[in-house]
């Protein structure tokens, strides 16, 4: 328990409010050397976990953003063809034997390191963030599994590259596609929900210290009641912080019935679809603002 509280305090020091279960999972991840799989709705701070972890451990953060059609070359390594082609032409009149020349062409100088290779060739163990892994397809997921199980990668021309130090792997998923059971089995799992009132208030206070105490409480209260509505896209923590910044910009110092007009103008920071926007009529916003 003391370790957990200590880690929570250090995470808070770099601006991330973590609940005890998450801190426990992070400690376990460092102890067991397993990847941590984070799931949850968009905007609840999954990516921030990796950033905060990197800051706490003062490690490098290497990020791999997954997308549909991501392949091995974009994720692991690629040969620099253009330079290789040039080198071949330049070496035409070289007297050395062909095998030496070939070795020269396929040396590390011509290797473009992509995030995964970068992560396992760091001298000090970095934080490897594999963001939105559900956007990549399963073939890539399978390849990832192989990497995550023994932290080595084989490059046909160079041989096997073993991890100098094991990276701390954080994987996030938005649930647009169900991940394979094999990947889930290999990872520690953490589901991140929308924050409760106290946690969100702490986040707003840490991230936007210039907001006065009363306003911060009102902002969080308003956002929490927005989340209770039946919306297509509920605002995450990122939206709360955006909206806070927007309110500050509009120089609103208190949320009440009188500020309805200006709140309506800032709602674009909080509400992100047209259908949801139509639910926020002047009357609704005035009532919500008055009850904050």
């Amino acid at each position: 328990m003391p370790d957990i509280i200590d880690l929570q305090r250090r995470l808070e020091g770099v601006g991330y409010v973590a609940e005890a279960p998450l801190a426990a999972a992070l400690l376990l991840m460092l102890d067991l050397g397993r990847p941590l799989l984070l799931e949850g709705d968009a905007g609840v701070g999954k990516t921030e976990v990796a950033k905060a972890l990197a800051a706490v451990r003062s490690a490098r953060l290497i990020r791999l953003q997954c997308y549909e059609g991501l392949d091995v070359h974009a994720a692991m390594y690629e040969w620099n063809y253009q330079r290789q082609l040039l080198a071949i032409k330049l070496l035409e009149h070289d007297e050395r034997p062909t095998s030496v020349k070939e070795q020269d062409i396929f040396s590390e100088r011509y290797l473009l390191k992509r995030p995964l290779l970068e992560a396992i060739s760091c001298a000090e163990s970095p934080v490897l963030l594999i963001d939105e892994v559900d956007r990549a397809d399963e073939a890539f997921e399978a390849y990832l599994l192989e990497l995550l199980s023994d932290f080595q990668m084989s490059i046909p021309e160079l041989g096997t590259v073993r991890a100098v130090s094991k990276p701390m792997v954080v994987i996030t998923s938005n649930g647009t596609r169900e991940l394979s059971d094999a990947l889930r089995r290999r990872c520690l799992y953490q589901y991140i929900d929308y924050p409760a009132f106290a946690k969100e208030l702490a986040i707003v206070e840490i991230r936007a210290p210039q907001v006065a105490g009363q306003l911060a409480r009102q902002i969080v209260d308003f956002v929490q009641s927005v989340r209770r509505m039946d919306l297509q896209k509920k605002p995450g923590i990122a939206e709360t912080l955006d909206w806070t910044a927007a309110l500050l910009r509009m120089e609103i110092s208190v949320i009440d019935g009188g500020s309805t007009e200006r709140i309506l103008e800032t709602l674009s920071a909080l509400i992100k679809t047209r259908d949801d926007r139509t639910a926020f009529t002047r009357g609704v916003v005035a009532r919500m603002a008055a009850s904050c």
Binding site: M1, I4, E19, A20, P21, A24, A25, L27, L28, M29, D31, L32, L36, E39, G40, E68, G69, D71, H73, E78, W79, Y81, Q84, L85, I88, K89, E92, E102, I105, D137, E138, A139, G175, T176, R177, E178, S180, D181, R184, R185, L188, Y189, Q190, Y191, D193, A196, A198, K199
Partner: protein, 392 residues
């Protein structure tokens, strides 16, 4: 090995180990996707974090043994049920964080996980009488047997087979955005070309090409055979059988108050033996409907193995359901997340005066990619291009 304290004698240590390893078996019995290696992982974790603080042990095992959001929400109650003496309900709460973690467990899961016995499988009788919302469906299981001779009627058989053949052919022409090496591709594969050119001293003599990769979608058919569907279920079974003989990766299930795998039976080459075997499987045919529970059982059982991100799931049902609409919506949401596309064929959709007012259908609407009519061969034929478009 488990805990370092030398005062704990070997016998107690063995009992502890058995208790801890038993936990993953308990979770598996409750539908968690944990394997044998996880029991070892649980031991290792407990050794790492110590077992004296129940909250830390809970959080650590939760991170280790959960694999998806639904398991995450059920974990706390299962943990309590397993590790607490039977008359105690919850651990004394030490911190508000623990309460926060428990909040998420408040989803309607009406104690399903609390029984030490396995809750998967068809043991769902008796809890379905929601009374008010009948909408023409009934929840009794039908005991009468059914005449499966219908399945072999020659009428329309050729038309159905021809249609399914066309569908299968179109299905083979779906492409992914990812590319793969191909002899007659459309784009130059620079990497492979350069690699081949090395043997010719850097002059690219042979060119390598790549093209879009073909996708082979898996199809899962879930056919409602309850009484309200009785006018259509045979027609759909014949469609399914024709499709099974055309494509390799088709899986067919029927459901009413329970869900049954009929894929193997349908692909039996002997039509009469197929008919006999279907007879044995189809107890409950033309009975009531509990779509939500059937889909949940499917998700927990076969579905977790069958449905992946290249799977198109086709549900055939009129949406008249006696189960909980919320459960139906939740199961459909799970199924849709797992699958590539979720198509719902409703045979009643094109009938004049039919409105989407059944509770089941309304709950389902939010979670389906395509809702299409399909009462007879002509309307299926009209719908197929749209299904193909959705599967792409």
């Amino acid at each position: 090995m488990l805990i370092d304290a030398p005062s704990v004698d070997a016998e107690l240590g063995a009992a502890l180990r058995a208790r801890l390893t038993g936990f993953s078996g308990f979770l598996r019995a409750n539908g968690f996707g944990v394997g044998g290696a996880d029991a070892l992982g649980a031991l290792e974790t407990s050794a790492q974090v110590g077992i004296l603080d129940p909250q830390v042990l809970r959080w650590s095992l939760k991170a280790l043994l959960c694999g998806r959001g639904e398991e995450w929400r059920r974990f706390d109650r299962l943990f309590d049920a397993y590790f607490l003496p039977p008359n105690k309900r919850l651990f004394a709460e030490r911190q508000d964080e623990a309460a926060g973690a428990r909040d998420a467990g408040g989803v309607a899961r009406d104690g399903a996980g609390l029984n030490a016995a396995a809750v998967i499988g068809p043991g769902v009788a008796g809890d379905s009488d929601t009374g008010s919302a009948r909408h023409g469906a009934s929840c009794e299981e039908s005991l009468a047997s059914t005449d499966f001779g219908e399945l072999n009627r020659a009428e329309q058989l050729y038309a159905i087979e021809a249609l399914m053949r066309r569908f299968a052919k179109r299905l083979r022409q779906l492409y992914l955005r990812r590319e793969t090496a191909a002899h007659n591709g459309r784009r130059l594969d620079l990497q492979a070309t350069i690699r081949q050119s090395v043997s010719c001293g850097g002059t690219p003599l042979t060119l390598a090409w790549k093209d879009r990769r073909r996708v082979r979608p898996r199809l899962v058919l879930l056919i409602d055979v309850s009484r309200s569907m009785s006018a259509y279920s045979f027609f759909y079974m014949r469609l399914a059988r024709a499709l099974c003989s055309e494509l390799a990766d088709v899986h067919c299930f029927i459901f009413h108050t329970r869900i049954t795998d009929v894929g193997e039976v349908l692909s039996d080459p002997d039509p009469w033996r197929s008919q006999e075997r279907l007879h044995l499987l189809a107890i409950g045919w033309a009975g009531g409907t509990r779509i939500g529970e059937c889909l949940r059982d499917f998700n927990r059982g076969q579905g977790s193995r069958l449905v992946h991100s290249r799977t198109g799931v086709i549900v055939v049902s009129d949406g008249y359901d006696t189960g909980e609409p919320a459960l139906l919506a939740e199961s459909l949401a799970t199924l849709r997340r797992r699958s590539r596309r979720l198509v719902w064929l409703n045979p009643l959709l094109n009938q004049p005066g039919f409105a989407l007012e059944s509770q089941g259908m309304r709950a389902a609407m939010a979670h389906i990619d395509l809702l299409a009519p399909g009462a007879d061969l002509a309307s299926i034929e009209r719908v197929l291009p749209r299904i193909l478009e959705t599967l792409r």
